[in-house]
């Protein structure tokens, strides 16, 4: 494992930006900023006419680091230790589970908790516990 420094100020600021984004999307488009819901609806079947907006939101997510690199000349550390098979399994589980449970960290963890939704609280506690249990098994059981 790679040690990472504790960054409370930057994390709080970054979190506030994520919150700002969620508020802006609700204020302008009336939509929940849930990344799994937005990403899943890039694929058929299409239930409404919001595809272009969803594509634009995802494009913004992807362009953000490009902008950071242009402005600051560098990007913060990003360490991905997993190999290809693990990436594929984890990606499948992440995509399937987030859609099956109607949301991920953003839709349930940020927007849902902020709306005091009981479903989102249950979902958030479940994926937190499952994530912690998985890391525990991966790091401390082998």
């Amino acid at each position: 494992m790679v040690a990472t420094p504790f960054t409370p100020i930057a994390s709080l600021l970054g979190g506030a930006l994520i919150g700002l984004s969620a508020v802006l999307l609700m204020w302008t488009m009336g939509r929940i900023a849930g990344v799994s819901g937005i990403a899943a609806r890039l694929f058929p079947p299409y239930e409404d006419r919001e595809l272009a907006g969803r594509l634009a939101f995802v494009a913004g997510l992807i362009v953000a680091p490009v902008l950071v690199r242009l402005v600051t000349g560098s990007l913060p550390a990003q360490t991905i230790a997993a190999g290809t098979p693990l990436l594929m399994v984890a990606g499948l589980l992440t995509g399937f589970g987030s859609v099956w449970g109607s949301g991920c960290t953003s839709g349930h963890g940020v927007c849902g908790l902020s709306r005091l939704s009981v479903r989102s609280l249950v979902a958030t506690m479940t994926f937190m516990a499952a994530g912690m249990a998985t890391v525990f098994v991966m790091r401390h059981w082998s």
């Binding site: 913004g60 990003q78 991905i80 249950v122």
Partner: protein, 155 residues
């Protein structure tokens, strides 16, 4: 115009992920690693990401949802379901395992594409396959019989 605005809003989200450190899977895994608390390797930063995001969203949503309608849409699309069905536990449990294996949830994984990461590309391709599969299974007649359909607006 609305498309451009959503591009900008997505970019603010992505900047938040980068500034907060959530775009780094190692940091996410070190947060989820409560077993690392005795050794001092636990990274509590992500609790601060959640706190910052929830406080701003809580205050912002309270103000925004008092309006008659959003600025650029006909109405607010806010989830209404309150029941706890098997899917609201099974889905997040499956997602949490995937999250704990690599350290990517959907937002940071997409933002990682802009880092030029080949690993992120593999993860996102598999993630999209998983999403399409979940939507396909959810709409099968047998699935709607055993499980109530997911809240379409929740995400």
């Amino acid at each position: 115009m609305t498309v451009l605005i959503q591009f900008g809003i997505g970019m603010v989200f992505g900047l938040g992920l980068i500034v907060s450190g959530m775009s780094n899977p190692a940091k996410v895994l070190n947060f989820l690693d409560v077993g690392g608390i005795p050794a001092g390797t636990w990274d509590a930063s992500l609790a601060f990401v959640m706190a910052g995001a929830v406080v701003v969203t809580f205050i912002g949503f309270r103000r925004v949802l008092k309006l008659a309608r959003p600025v650029l849409a006909d109405r607010f699309y806010v989830p209404v379901r309150k029941d706890i069905d098997p899917r609201i536990i099974a889905g997040p449990a499956i997602f949490g395992i995937g999250w704990g294996l690599v350290g990517f949830c959907p937002g940071p994984a997409l933002t990682a594409l802009g880092f030029g990461s080949a690993s992120a590309f593999i993860f996102v391709a598999a993630m999209c396959a998983g999403m399409v599969l979940a939507r396909f299974i959810a709409q099968l007649p047998s699935a709607t019989r055993i499980a109530t359909p997911g809240e379409p607006l929740e995400t």
